[in-house]
Symmetry: C3
Subunit: 309 residues, 3 copies
């Protein structure tokens, strides 16, 4: 098998001339996971396609999706080929417009709480994604949703929306979502505000809305992030959480805790702590323990090596 | 489409020595589509793998398929891995033999009418692919069909066939298809003739056949294409169409009209017009309006940016 | 996530600094296949992603999977993304640890009998994979199984296991598999021993085990491989087989025969012979005939061109 390394493009193009290109990156992991009942082996490998180009007028455009998100050409039901995985964008002085499986405006600006451990934000079913902030909109691979982001100095703003057509989120009709968010950075602090709406396609049903307040602080090698979310006319009353990550040498320690107060009971607190040790070259030793306060639910744990290529 | 040559291979190989390689290219689009009822966002991103090599004797071989056409290794039911998406080829002085999800002989030589707009030849369900010439055979991802093409000076010929085994096109049995086509170019004109056959695997059922006459003319920056198709023992009586595309500066305007006369009524006329504006670097602003003469069917429209990488 | 621009990495990195990278290779084939009843066209195209990197301490890591094995991000049910296709590894002075859809320990050391013909080891259903040695374990895409291999001078050892959790091989429960193997090379000869176990998750059911003895000899341009397998508490009594492959100039001739003695009747002998002719540049003309001694089962044959890129 002949291994073909990519890219004479970069070599033959003359200085200053932008060339459209496709580049490859990848990641993987191997280790062991305790799902609250059994220890299991766990591994995966992924490849990411990154597309980029520049117009004659200086606008940048491109997109990105993973090989496993390319889509199934036979059914055309899902994937980057259909617009509900990966995304494309065009950007310039006016900001950046992205379309596809984009994040909601507040998620685009604030992200999630610190990721811990070998599985990152996605350990299994027991405590799946418990460091994720419960944003209200665009977390379900909506087809070709729109995200606009713009930054000017210390200010960043974002707006997101779906067209709603054919997107049934529970009403049985065409449920549309939209959101706005803003952030302001001063010194080592960033504060932000987000507002998300689900406009139900049903007569006499109030929109479900969620207001988020987020703050990030950086002290030396330590990052702290906290948020508070207040939902109206939904299934959650409020949610809040905080995480911290600090790096010393090759070691990073991170932890988070968040609480979801549900309407009609079912409150839950999630927490986790993890340690990473950077082996260099794209390999990181990583382990974590995560748990919640639900009766009868055991802690989960994982340990292994994460790779990036 | 800008092919991104992946390949330090090219750098280390000595002059004259052919090296097999895999290269990447891609495309994407983002915009809005009116499907006759609603405006919706629409986007997608695709990556194309292009395989190529040369034997010691100078034969060229290779293949191509998209990432979303790679196939599903779990089921093996569809994809380039199975031979019903993408294709492979070998070529030399004898011509080119392709196998896989190939076009029928006349489609290989004549193509379709001019593509218009941001969605190219595939706007939605309402007027889907209405610039496509209704070739009789090999438009359904038949597994490992065969296409042979050969050009000598002003003449081009093509032949295509399926093996029929396991390909039920409607008889309930193994329906085989084959086709031949030829084209002759003189000055700015090309004329061609194609003949396609479906050989039904059913006793006493006549073959369905279709004869196509096609002509292409190029005047400066303007291309005109017209065809007439005459079907026997099928569901169509005849079809004809014409398209034109002209480029001035960065702008291209294209339009088409075609009429399908069906056996037993249901005639339809499809038409569309589109404008492209080349932003350079692989990005094109594009919009189109398409419609038909069916009562109760609204026009469709689209506008957005197409990318190639 | 470290975006790896494929391959400027190699160009800008200073000597001795290892860079993580993703490389592409591919393969394809086109030809005709006789499945015992009909001649059919047969073709396919594949792309392989190979990931590799090195830690600061000199450990090597990476992985590999095919584009059609990437997985389906919509269902997450199968693929390299889920750990039951492709694999990842880390290796160093301690040996190599692989995880994913790995081979069992004896298969990792001994492989299969010689592959013949254009379809390699996988001609259709009639005589599918009849040159494959019937290893007992890890031939079914088990999720994230583990393989350890180590070589020191003339000795090679391997160990493999699944975690069993959620892997029902027939008991209705969590059936775990494990295996060990060793090989010793002296001059042109290699001999090896393997032992595989299925530990059924059912009360009072004996483990199914299989002992394999394998030998490989190389005489000039000729390779000979033979094996004997003895199964206990399974559906096979014993199996044995031998293959030889010899190359003269651009031509390689290979053949194999193997016999499976089943418990309770149904013994079968499989055999095949094939010829390859190397066209250079990654293209090989190849044909083969394969058959078995089952009454009413016709021989299969294939002829075509294999490509590697």
């Amino acid at each position: 098998m002949k291994k073909v390394l990519i890219a004479t493009t970069a070599l033959v193009m003359t200085a200053g001339v932008a060339a459209a290109e496709v580049s490859l990156s990848g990641n993987g992991r191997m280790g062991v996971v305790y799902d609250g009942a059994d220890w299991e082996f766990s591994s995966r490998a992924r490849v990411v396609f990154t597309l980029s180009g520049t117009t004659d007028g200086g606008l940048e455009f491109g997109g990105s999706f993973r090989a496993d998100q390319a889509g199934d050409g036979a059914t055309g039901a899902w994937g980057a080929d259909t617009g509900n995985a990966g995304s494309v964008y065009i950007s310039g002085a006016f900001g950046k417009i992205s379309m596809g499986d984009v994040a909601s405006a507040p998620e685009a600006l604030f992200g999630d709480l610190a990721s811990v451990g070998y599985m990152g934000d996605s350990q299994g079913t027991a405590n799946g994604g418990t460091n994720n902030i419960p944003y209200l909109t665009l977390d379900d691979g909506t087809q070709s949703a729109l995200l606009y982001t713009y930054s000017a100095g210390a200010f960043s703003v974002a707006a997101s929306m779906s067209d709603g057509i054919g997107e049934d989120l529970g009403s049985g009709g065409d449920d549309q979502v939209y959101a706005v968010a803003g952030a302001y950075t001063f010194g080592n602090y960033t504060v932000g505000l987000g507002y998300e709406v689900i406009d139900w396609d049903a007569a006499g049903v109030d929109n479900t809305t969620q207001l988020e307040l987020a703050a990030v602080a950086t002290f030396g090698n330590t990052d702290v992030k906290a948020y508070y979310a207040d939902q109206q006319d939904g299934i959650i009353d409020a949610a809040f959480g905080i995480s911290a990550a600090t790096t010393f040498g090759a070691t990073t320690v991170a932890g988070y805790v968040q609480q979801i107060d549900a309407i009609g009971g079912g409150d839950v607190t999630w927490y986790g702590i993890g340690v990473d040790y950077d082996l260099g070259g794209g390999a990181v030793l990583s382990g974590a323990i995560q748990d919640d306060d639900v009766t009868g639910s055991d802690p989960t744990a994982n340990f292994g090596v994460r790779f990036s290529f």
